[in-house]
């Protein structure tokens, strides 16, 4: 096992002991970070690995949340089945939306992903009889056998760890290398005989699949689902998380999610002006730490190593 893998195994084990602190706060925060971390990593498969700036990632998150909760509540489908269905729905939605989006590049791609996610948002907002509209879907209970925050935390930990394992295998596989090649230069990738659009579409689907898993988890964790989950500022926030952590590192977005959620929890306890602080953090980040937290730490590491050599 590589150094990084050891590090992660230990981290997961440490997290597994988190509920022993008997602090409801840490269990809550831990669950939140794991879910949003998965959401940010799913976006980063597009953003950092494939070079596609999606501004509508919240659509798949919301589809996952609504699908899982609605199947459980309105159709009495068992949780495992509803959960899998949510992920599959997310991937299917991403396939349909991605089919159109990947034809465009850069700003037009971002605008089209935004348009589609706003369509999904408007449907969730207006379809009162199904989604509860503006009031949202409330009373989403813990499924059987997972009916306590601690049990749900363990379930989330298992799902997220497994997702990270799969995604990491994926980005380190030849498939992942092709995505990186596309990010660096789509035209040259095309010249060496790779169907760029097809690979982009597959990446889009995988991204939607995992975003929907995160959404399904979050809907239950939050006990309620609102159209706001899909509204465009949510897509912007997950972009900020990824950027804050660093988009050129697999776990960068998780670090970003952790820092942002922890800060938000601390800041909102003494002031309501969280957006002001978030905006300031974002601006400082863009000006001074364009590589994000992980990028910054890595560059320092390289720097000190060089010093030692000389």
């Amino acid at each position: 096992m590589s150094k990084e893998n050891w590090f992660l195994t230990i981290l997961v084990l440490l997290l597994a002991f988190l509920p022993l602190t008997e602090s409801r706060f840490y269990v809550f925060l831990g669950t939140d970070i794991l879910i949003m971390g998965l959401f940010a990593v799913s976006l980063n498969l597009l953003l950092g690995y494939t070079g596609l700036v999606s501004f509508g990632q919240a659509a798949y998150f919301g589809i996952g949340a609504y699908t899982c909760a609605l199947l459980m509540k309105k159709a009495s489908v068992a949780f495992p089945l509803a959960f899998v269905a949510a992920a599959v729905f997310g991937a299917i939605a991403a396939m349909i939306i991605g089919f159109f989006c990947i034809r465009l590049t850069k700003i037009y791609f971002a605008m089209l992903t935004l348009a589609f996610s706003q369509i999904v948002w408007a449907i969730a907002f207006k379809w009162n009889s199904l989604t509860g509209g503006d009031t949202g879907l409330i009373g989403v209970n813990f499924p059987a056998h997972l009916d306590s925050p601690i049990r749900f935390f363990y379930f989330t930990l298992a799902v997220v760890a497994l997702s990270f394992y799969v995604l990491r295998k994926l980005v380190n596989s030849p498939f992942g290398r092709i995505l990186t090649t596309i990010r660096e230069n789509p035209e040259r990738t095309e010249f060496i005989g790779i169907n760029v659009k097809l690979f982009q579409l597959i990446a889009f689907m995988i991204s939607g699949f995992f975003a929907a898993i995160a959404g399904a988890l979050f809907g239950i964790f939050n006990h309620s689902i609102f159209p706001d989950f899909i509204f465009w500022p949510q897509s912007a926030e997950v972009l900020i998380m990824s950027l804050l952590g660093g988009i050129y590192n697999f776990f960068g977005p998780v670090v970003g999610a952790a820092v942002l959620l922890y800060l938000r929890m601390q800041v909102t306890s003494f002031t309501q002006y969280w957006p002001l602080i978030l905006g300031t953090i974002l601006a400082l980040l863009l000006f001074f730490f364009p590589g994000g937290i992980v990028g910054f730490l890595k560059s320092r590491q390289v720097f000190t190593r060089k010093n030692k050599c000389s």
């Binding site: 605008m111 348009a115 207006k126 465009w232 905006g279 863009l286």
Partner: protein, 297 residues
Amino acid sequence: MSLPDPSFLVIQCLSGLTYAMFLFLIASGLSLIFGILRVLNFAHGSLYMLGAYLTYYFVSQFVNAPGQFWWAVIFASLSVAIIGGIIERFLLSRLYIREELNQLLFTYALVLILSDFAKIVWGTGQLSVSRPAILKGAVPILGQYFPEYNIFIIILGPAIALLFWLILHRTRWGRFIRAAALDREMLGSLGVNVNRLFTLVFAIGAWLAGLGGALVSPIVAIVPGMDVEIIINAFIVVVVGGLGSFWGTLLGALILGQVTSFGILVLPRLSMVFIYVLMAVVLILRPWGLLGKPLQR
């Protein structure tokens, strides 16, 4: 379904036109900034919101002055232009060497900062500005009454569009601006100070947003959240019309104004979905918009 009363349709069409003119003011600034600076300015809605709040502030300052509303509009929109210029000169211009995503996210940071700034200064309640005295009345149209102020807006919109077009096409600076949209390096090597031109363009764009906000203040409630509400609609306008296309923006605003106005009547539930579908369809079929030109690069 019986046919609705024609006078009602006319009124509905006119209110759609009023909305279209505000959309046009905001979106034309957005489109101008994108056309020249290649920055998609998320903070444009925030500048619009600032225009409305500042109008409220200046109206309360000039209580007894004659024509207080008009002075407030002028001061508010110019203040927004100055704020825009400062933002571009000292902050945004430092990010041009970075990827487009960084510029986009910086303007989003501004959205967050300015929305809380407005909340801190003016609170979270609804504020309102009363209509100027000379336009307080309403005009009878086919038996229904329509506010004079809205008619003034419907006339003012095309007037500003025309003025704007004349500046762009008949003045020296207008020619520089159009040249910068085509090739900024070439313009710079011909001796034009491109950095100053960029600041000017951003300030003009901000002025248009501020003017939109100032003029809309008598007919809507000034509330936090009016920034994020308008910005997506402004995006739809420029995308439908064509990013960077002047007449396209006008066309996009007219379409969106009428779709919003009549969509609520015909299919109240689907009208909101419909405008996003419109945006998606245009992007899929003609990414460069109805009247835009495809990018050469």
